[in-house]
Symmetry: C2
Subunit: 236 residues, 2 copies
Amino acid sequence: MTTLYEHGTLAALMAGNLAGTLSLKELLTHGSTGLGTFDGVDGEVVILDGEVYQADATGRVNHVTDPNVMLPFASVHFPGNDQQAVTVTATSKAALQTALTTKYQLANVFAYVRVSGEFDHVKVRIAPKQTQPYPSLLEVAKHQPVFEQTHVSGTLLGYYAPDIFGTVTAAGWHLHFISDDRQFAGHVLEFTGGELTGELEIFDSLEQHLPIHDQAFRQGKVDLDSLKAGIYAAEG
Amino acid sequence: MTTLYEHGTLAALMAGNLAGTLSLKELLTHGSTGLGTFDGVDGEVVILDGEVYQADATGRVNHVTDPNVMLPFASVHFPGNDQQAVTVTATSKAALQTALTTKYQLANVFAYVRVSGEFDHVKVRIAPKQTQPYPSLLEVAKHQPVFEQTHVSGTLLGYYAPDIFGTVTAAGWHLHFISDDRQFAGHVLEFTGGELTGELEIFDSLEQHLPIHDQAFRQGKVDLDSLKAGIYAAEG
């Protein structure tokens, strides 16, 4: 059995529930690799082999060791024995995504990919920390700093989720990047690159954890139609 | 931590993937209580304290002990320490559902209820076993036998799922019934009853298991718009 653990939902973020609801300490008991964001959608988090990095809205990358930092949303797993070696010669984000989804027949399953190599160009965005009263994630998405680097070696990692889970989490691929020197990271908007190698893993289970003791979450109202329009605008 | 385990998805059933993809033996390692259906949507399954009952399309209730029977869809859990005692004096399915959802603030969480007592009237439907090539669950829903009983003592049990999971599983309440004499059971369409007592439990996690080794599942095409229209027609 291979399990992807996820805390929080995209719907809750879209509803403006941006406060952290799970500690990093607790999160790391469910996985050593993954991605997420901190309290108030403070930046883009990359977790690699148990080490936690946060790209903040200034573009700086922080190595995070405080176990008490809180997260409203994160996806993690423990890399298992079911990993398949992948080599991709994709030249863009769209090409990589299509190649993996098609070759490994991912449409209806959850999957993970991690590939490393030399990138000609990487463009990322980084969510800036919000304060209460929190806006919707849709509002946040309109004002996000973008950073670019050329000729950077690093790692791209993230998850694939089926369309039917598109209100629970980001449908399709959700990829973060971190450079080998740990100085550049973020949510990947675009990249061009040469040969990338790494691993892909298909999960048979999603463990979806909800912040059931959080009153903002419990009382949140979800309108599915406006939620979908918002997700398309924020994540599309 | 309290976990609801679910195998299969409503989307896959709607796409006509009705073949069993998990054995009863495996299912029971994830819970002792719950509901589901057998290979080919053969009937309505009730699992109570580890005992498995199937109402088939003739209206007969079978006590199932074969661990190798397969299920395309099921939801189970192990009742835990977080159960709350509930007493409902609801007189109908709609009243019960609204009362529980409101009182326990269930809108955004997964929950379980099990209540027993004397029912004035219970109306159930039972899915008839399909053969390959399988139709969509929507087609199956158009031709389902309905059974009724009056003055019957029994147990109503099932799960609540948030709207945003409405393509993964049945959103709102999904309730099955079984009589105390184990002679009458099915998917609850309507009931009227007096005072019912039992337990309610709120889960903090959904463990969603997918049949990743099933080719029909992997190759299935999901069109979200028609899926939603179909779910509304089949389950609404």
